[in-house]
Structure formats: C-alpha cells, structure tokens
Assembly symmetry: C3
Homo-oligomer: 148 residues x 3
C-alpha cells in the first residue's frame, strides 16, 4: 500500500525522525521560557501575575528574553529545515548525506540552545552555522536535482 | 495514479483539512492584529502613521500586543503540529486517534485565542495544553511506530 | 519507484522549487538582520558587544527592527503557504494555477522585503496582499477539492 511504502523509505524515515526531534526541541524551548517565567515571577500578561497573587509589572528578565530569542530562532531555522529536508529526502540522497543532515541539524540546534543560554560567543554563532549550512546545502542540492 | 491515491487516504485527508483550518486561523489572527491597529491607530512603522495622516508615535496597545502574542504562539504551536501531524498520518493511526488529534488541535487553538484576548487565566493555559498534549502525543507515537 | 514518481510530478515539482525559494528568502532575511546589526553595531545580547570589544547597550536601530519585522512576517506568511501549497499541489491543479501561486508568492515576498526596508506605504500592503491572497485561495480551493 502507498503510505506504508512512503514511511518505509530510509530517507523519509530519517527526515521524519529528525523532524520529530526538532519539533520536540522547539516545544521544549517553549517550556523552558515558561519555567524561567514561573521561577523568576516575570510574565507577559497582567492576568498571569494575578494568578500568582502578585502585583502586575512590566519588567523583563535576561534569561527569559534569551530563551525567547532561542525559541524564535527555532522557528526561523526550523521551518526552512523541515521543509527543505522533506524535499531533499524525496530526491533520495546518499546514506552519508542523510546522516550528516538529519543528525547534524538537531545536534546543532541543541548546542545552540546551550551556547545562547550561557552567553557563549562566538560559540553560539559557530553552532548556529551548522544548521544554517545544512539547510542551504540541502536547498541547493535539491533544486539542482529537481531541475536536471 | 499516485498523487490521487495520496489525498484519497482518510488519514492524509484529515491531516490536510485540519492543517488548512490551522493555517487559516493563523492568517486570521494576523488580520486581527491589523484590524486592532487600524481601530486604535497604533502602528509598527512611521509610514503607517503617515498613511493615516497621523503623527508617528512609539506607544503600544495592550490588545495589539495580546493579538501579536497569540499570532507568535500560533507559529510556535502550529509548525510542530502540522509537521508531526503529517508524519502521524503516514503511520496510519486509528479513526479515533485521527478525530481526537485533527479536530482537537484547531478547537484548542481557537479557544486559546478567545482566552488570551479576554485575559482569562488559568483557562488560557488549560486550552493551550490541548494542542501541546496532542502534538507531543503524536510525536512520541509516530517515533515509536517508525522505530519498531 | 514511489518516491521518484512523487518528485517527477509537475505540481509537486513546482511546489518544491517555490518552497525552496521561500525558504532561502527567509534565511536571507535573517542574514540581512545580522549584517545590519554588524554594520550598525547594534546587537541583542551583551556577549555580542563584548566580541566586538564594545560597551553593551540596549538601544535599538530602525533598520534592524524593520528587517526583524520582515523576518517574522516571513514565518507568519511562509508557514501557511508551504503547508497549504503542498496540499494544493496534491489536488493536481491546472498549470495556470501552479504558475500563479508558485511563482506569484515568492515574487510577492521579495517585493514585500523591498517595500518594507524602504518604508513604502501603501505599496508594502499591496505586495503583502499578493501572498496572502494566494494562500487563502489555495486553502479554500484545496478544502473544496478534498471535501467533494
């Protein structure tokens, strides 16, 4: 049957597992934002303060803002990756290519989270570049493969 | 023919309809941001004020900021959902699972919009959790299904 | 073989190429944010200033904020487009429909970047509407096609 054949393909399987990790990592970063908010009592809406029986305030917190920037960056990097990754998987790349791209991206993103939260530069840029490079490389390779 | 077979599958059909609703809901939240901006005369760029023949200002508005947070949350929650949802649909889940996930998520997101705009807590967290729980559950189920 | 058949389909091919352009455009907008930050010495984190041997500051820059709004809008518009575009492609639309949607959206988004960075209104709204209209039209057409 068609759909079973789809997910039994090694490239689609690698894309699917990698994408699930990237999706769960994005959701985990969102939970990190919430957990720092609760620990530091810094919220985005007045009703959140009221729920904690606190006076509403407008101050922001450095760690909350860092985690929020990581979360936004997860979307900025993740949307192109999962999309281009699916197209790349459909071009049936080599096993080496699959491993580098679909293991490399999630690892790069987890290291990016650690580097950003700890304020490590230029390490943050270095690990961010892993994901960026992988996505651009897959995009160019896939476009060539489709056009030729 | 291949592609017709693809969209004639019940699980893919459910994913596609649910994803279209989630996409339209995200676009509608963006329109809500714009409509509140126009009604309250609070814009993001100086040229927007000039177009309305108003003096540019930097003030923000509570309802605009609320709608913007909902819009960003639509992306934070929606990207993992549509991605993991496609993989989940490919694993050919039960009809009950399809209904709970693909009807539950859009309903949860619409209730989240209402709760956030009205400033209702803890209702906002409760309805947000519906979508979060569904996505995590689909991710774990799909990963197990692919790996076994 | 299944997957080769998938990418050899004209509609899927058009979606894939269009999506790759949209993904690369989103990544390029992110690079634009970074390049303006470096040129103007305006960063988001203290460690970024330290790397440039500068005193950390909290000022923002108009061009940086403009490029950031374009980048966020790329996600707000791009996620619904690539998702709904895939479903639309699966419904096997006409060649004319493919051209209008899959060439029109990336062109609209590139014009939106130019209009936003130059502060041109109402041109920005006009070119933004191209992408919005295409996505809504594809969503409605696809939903009808699936339901009938």
């Amino acid at each position: 049957m068609l759909l079973e054949e789809f997910l039994s393909n090694a490239a689609i399987k690698a894309w699917a597992l990698s994408s699930i990790v990237v999706a769960l990592k994005t959701l985990a970063t969102g939970m990190l934002v919430s957990s720092i908010r609760i620990r530091k009592n810094v919220f985005s809406s007045p009703e959140d303060y009221e729920l904690q029986k606190l006076e509403p305030q407008t101050a922001t917190d450095d760690q909350v803002e860092r985690a929020r920037r990581v979360h936004l960056n997860d979307l900025e990097a993740g949307l192109p990756f999962v999309l281009v990754g699916l197209i790349y998987a459909l071009t049936q790349p080599s096993t080496l290519g699959l491993w580098i791209c679909f293991a490399g991206f999630p690892i790069g993103r987890i290291l990016h989270l650690v580097a950003y939260m700890k304020g490590l530069m230029p390490h943050r840029t270095a690990v961010w570049s892993i994901g960026f490079g992988i996505t651009v490389w897959m995009a160019v390779t896939s476009a060539i493969s489709i056009l030729t």
